[in-house]
Amino acid sequence: MKLNQTLVVVAGLAAALQIATAGNVTGKITLKGTPPPEAPIPQAKENADCGKLLTAVPTTQHWVVSSKAELANVVVVIKGVAGAKSTGDAAAPALMDQVGCIYTPTILAVQTGQKITVKNSDPVMHNVHTRPNVAGNDEMNKAQFAKGPDLTFAFSKPEDFLKFQCDVHSWMFSWVTVVDHPYFAVTDKDGNFTIKDVPPGKYKIVATHRKAAPKGMESDIEVKADGGKADFTLEVPAK
């Protein structure tokens, strides 16, 4: 009994120490090559309901690249952190909104068990239809009325780019990557990412973009007490 208590205390101390010494991993993703032009979505503007909410014909958002070739919407995951567990149950819900019949963001990353709140900011009815490919993650199809109450989703198994779609508006879709630990991030519009509180150690770090090559670029990283840094250059796939 006493030994057990001691063990718990030691383990607790170790965990506290680890967080205390854990640092942020940051980096930037750059794109090499010129991506194909985004396709226009005329049917969105032509739609009686959605057209009113849009000032121009929207386009697809497959390649969100800054003027300095920095690539957004890349999911970056650190793999191999010993004892890494999902803290999804306790994590704040991730937010997905529908604005002007477009999902924002188009790429989201969450932990297993973490709630995903889907909002409808439109005065338009949507349905939110999940299209998982991994057994254990549920396919669901829920109606969401105009400015209706939020819907909540959560997935129990890790999965890359699980699709959310609206069948009322065929051009509405987005992806959610589900990870079974907290060490991941999605790049912002300047291609930057920050993965918080990574314990020191040597790991693999993987950057995945839906369209860029290679799919899931992997490199080694050593995280020290003050964190670490990892930059990637992804490419537009050759014809």
Partner: protein, 352 residues
Amino acid sequence: MNQSPHNSWLHRFAVLTALATLTLLGIGGLVTSHGAGMAVPDWPTSYGYNMFALPFHFWKGGVFYEHSHRLVASGVGMLTMILAVWLWFSETRRWMRWLGVIALVAVVLQGVLGGLRVVWFKDQIGIIHATLAQLFFALVCAIALFTSRWWVERRPPARLNGGLEQAGSETGAPLRWLFLSTTILIFLQLIIAATMRHEHAGLAISDFPLAHGKLWPDMSDAAVERYNQQRMEVVSLKPITTFQIGLQMAHRIVAVMILIGVAACAWRGAKTQLRRLTFTWLGLILVQIALGVWTIWSNKAADVATAHVLVGAFSLVTGVLGCIICNARLAGNKTPHVVGDSQCSTIRTVSV
């Protein structure tokens, strides 16, 4: 004649049912072409409402197609029920009465399959639903044929026999076998096509006449990944797979085989009374191939793809009716009442 006296109202009603079915096929095709199969998440209710009471403000976007499909389907169900009852009580040809029953069972099964596809999230059910839809259309068209004056008061078969025999001796290949095998090919093509459409992956091969830039596409995993990465999907599509690329190549090859088959039918049928039918068939196939190419070049525009589905259905029905007419005529006077189950093999009795 000891057949049912021709009932023109029954025939007209059968034609009406066939036309309604055609409309339903078109709307069903639009549902899939617009990716709207799941736009109404519940079934048999619609957004919690009784299907017939869904308020109009819901009828927008994908809901419009899916909900219209459900309503028209109910209409076709009603028409089929009336047709089956009418046949049951008015037909003296026993097999015709049962044909009505089969149609009724098929339409009910079809409705249930459509509903299960929605509530079970099963794309595969869509394949069966789409295939059964066209078989049902062919069945209703056959009922319309069997109830027509032209069919009931058939002219003596001798003239046609003569024509066919003549054609057969000229070319050495009996027309009825050509009809049957080409119709089976079209049916096979339908299954391939329904599988492609209900995998919801869009165009597995986005170019024509080449396939991913080659005569035979690179189907390696690396290549398939590249194809997916290069795609700029506007609507929600599943990633394409090696299987789907293979299926699309099969579709193209079977299309060529069908064209050859139908052209041969037209060639050999030219001097028979089936001339008009076979030439119509050939015309349909040519239009169908053009629509298939246009589907690719338009990046699978929903209206073009749906027209391709409809002309495909017409091609199948023409083949089925052609098989029926050619076999029944050849079967001659000996079995005028059992044309429905007469097979091409009965030709031996007359071709001697």
